[in-house]
């Protein structure tokens, strides 16, 4: 948990002394909360949230410079969830950190709730930008990084992209402009879980070779195992300082549906609804902790 009372003294970005066990527990919390909230809604984006669970946990509990006591702190790091359909896993993290009362989530997606399947920055504290229409988030990040430059702030802007949305042309407009404007403060994180709705990305609309493509657009590229806290944290810790330089992208290879064996790499679980017997079984499976992945996408 973030304990700092003075947001300007948050210390180094990687300075939260959280243990790997704690982060693993929070990643599992992302998954169990996703399952719980999806049942309230009667539908949810399980698998593309599960693939991002370790990334959410590492960013929010160990890395981002934010302060829930001052959610609009101008010098905070920004986080743009371009793959807005994973908001179901982000809301519980924000509640857990103290941005709002966790009890509010009990009305997730119910009439008049601030919490929809896609996040609304006007309704949810801690959400830095509304999202849901894929392909827009990286442009938002470009604008936020330019604002940081104009205002001479030292914050970074993190943008989590789905791999399927990389087929959107606006992503590459944004990628080009980020390199042109030398926005080293912009960090893109690609949740490379391998699947979009109609199938494997390489069958539906190929995006590989992804490293070469980003590098060709002038980005600094890292490629990591997106479920390995050691790799996630060391990559985040070793980002180039914000300022003028290459924008940075972390391609995080992940498993869609990670953590629930029957969902791993299975297309039908992009949006789904667990019936009660399955619900109990999935909760029990998640409660037992992460097992080795049963499926890995070929990249």
């Amino acid at each position: 948990m973030v304990e700092d009372s003075n947001p300007r003294d948050l210390g180094p970005r990687h300075g939260r002394n959280v243990s790997p066990e704690f982060l693993a527990d929070r990643a599992m919390f992302v998954r169990t909360e996703t399952v719980r909230l999806a049942r309230i809604a009667g539908a949810g984006h399980y698998s593309s949230t599960f693939s991002a669970a370790e990334l959410f946990a590492a960013l929010y509990y160990a890395h981002l410079r934010i302060n829930p006591a001052e959610p609009k702190w101008p010098d905070r790091d920004r986080f743009v969830l371009s793959k807005g359909h994973a908001a179901i896993g982000l809301y519980p993290v924000l509640a857990d950190l103290g941005f709002f009362d966790p009890k509010l989530l009990d009305q997730y997606t119910r009439f008049g709730s601030p919490f929809g399947d896609h996040p609304d920055m006007k309704k949810v504290l801690g959400i830095d930008f509304s999202s849901g229409s894929l392909g827009h988030g990286l442009s938002v990040g470009v604008g936020m990084a330019l604002a940081a430059r104009v205002q001479q702030r030292g914050n970074r802007v993190y943008c989590m992209l789905g791999d399927g949305e990389l087929a959107e042309g606006q992503i590459w407009e944004a990628a080009m402009s980020a390199a042109h404007f030398r926005l080293a403060s912009l960090v893109a994180i690609v949740d490379r879980n391998g699947l979009c709705i109609d199938g494997h990305t390489e069958e539906v609309m190929g995006i590989e070779p992804l490293q070469d493509r980003f590098a060709g657009f002038g980005w600094q590229v890292s490629r990591i195992d997106g479920h390995d806290f050691g790799q996630i944290l060391s990559t985040l810790d070793n980002l180039a300082p914000p300022g003028r330089g290459k924008p940075q992208v972390i391609i995080a290879d992940t498993v869609k549906g990670r953590g629930v064996a029957m969902m791993e790499g299975v297309l039908n679980w992009h949006v789904g609804n667990l019936e009660s017997a399955d619900y109990d079984a999935v909760m029990a499976e998640l409660g037992a902790g992460l097992k080795p992945a049963v499926w890995e996408h070929p990249t």
Partner: protein, 345 residues
């Protein structure tokens, strides 16, 4: 008032892409005589003046800094100007990102590539989060003449005015634009600002002091009908009213600068007091100013009413003057259209 010499339909387009118009030296015509001075495109200078006193202002464009004179802003505030190249969607969404961090971004490009190409970015990234992005859509309607339908914007008002919370406003001339830009600094939410060529003939001798979004300006009073015009059609509507006067017809002329939210009270007053209404716009008559006014009138007592604009078709190729004449959107056309309406009454 000399109509022909300053009617927008008579202007050439030679300055379109260089932006090198009357704000600098007069250009030489082919014959070597000084070309007629055109009004200056004040967008960049006015924004630079405002930015001197307001650190929130930033300006972005998409490879049209000369055409829209945002180069004048760049010269004075280079650290607050960003050219996104020919990537309008990225520009609009990035402007929204800047607005989310406390800025008031002005994003300027052709209306066809702003209101039409970027409709979803305007709706989802600017209006839905209620961010103070100012979308400056210049070269509206058919003002780009022979550049063709790709560069015309005859649908943008219809698209923009259905977006919840988005203020949609049209500038009749440079001074109207000044008032709009100044007022925009203290106005919540996103604003779509539609301009003609940016060098439109003078309607206002000074920036209208009492300008307010959503409050129409009554430019001339009359008893026989009301001409409600917007943007680049305000000037020819005014000159048309002079021609009508010569025929014994007095026309009230209203600059309905704000299309959304619409000044319904002014429309109802015009209906009750003058008994006939003609709307004039360089826009498809489906969905634009005329449709917006009709939505008000249909709930009032029935009066003679006509929408004057571009019919539901793509415009032919031709110089702007020829296109405005073809669609009777010049002063002669507006005056004759008004007489037709009155004969119907």
């Amino acid at each position: 008032m000399s109509v022909k010499s300053s009617d927008p339909t008579s202007q050439d387009q030679s300055d379109l892409f260089t932006g090198d118009g009357a704000s600098h030296k007069p250009k030489q015509s082919v014959q070597g005589t000084p070309a007629k001075a055109m009004p200056a495109f004040i967008l960049g200078e006015e924004l630079a003046d405002l930015a001197d006193h307001d650190s929130r202002i930033v300006v972005v464009t998409a490879d049209l800094a000369s055409a829209n004179r945002t180069v004048d802003f760049r010269a004075r505030h280079p650290d607050r100007f960003f050219d996104f190249g020919i990537a309008e969607k990225n520009m609009v969404t990035a402007a929204a990102g800047m607005a989310a961090c406390g800025h008031i971004p002005f994003a300027a490009t052709f209306a066809s590539f702003l209101g039409i190409l970027c409709a979803e970015q305007i709706r989802t990234d600017c209006a839905y989060p209620n961010l103070p992005v100012r979308l400056v859509a210049h070269h509206s309607g058919i003002s780009m003449g022979f550049y063709g339908t790709s560069h015309h914007a005859l649908e943008d008002l219809a698209m923009m005015r259905t977006i919840a919370g988005l203020t949609v406003v049209c500038a009749a001339d440079a001074n109207a634009l000044r008032s709009i830009l100044r007022a925009s600094l203290n106005h919540p939410g996103s604003i779509y600002i539609r301009l003609g060529r940016g060098r439109d003939p003078v309607v206002y001798d000074a920036p209208p002091a009492d300008f307010a979004f959503g409050k129409a300006i009554r430019l001339r009073d009359g008893a026989d009908l009301t001409i409600i015009a917007t943007g680049a059609e305000v000037y020819p509507a005014l000159t048309a009213s002079e021609k009508l006067l010569a025929q014994g017809v007095t026309a009230r002329v209203i600059d309905m600068h704000t299309i959304s939210p619409l000044d319904k009270a002014e429309i109802r007053a015009a209906a009750a007091e003058t008994g006939a209404i003609l709307t004039v716009e360089e826009h498809n008559i489906t969905g634009g100013l005329g449709s917006a006014v009709a939505e008000v009138l249909v709930e009032c007592d029935r009066i003679p009413f006509a929408r004057h604009g571009v019919p539901d078709e793509f415009a032919p190729i031709g110089p702007p003057a020829a296109l405005y004449a073809h669609y009777r959107l010049d002063s002669d056309g507006i005056a004759s259209r008004a007489m037709e309406l009155l004969r119907r009454a």
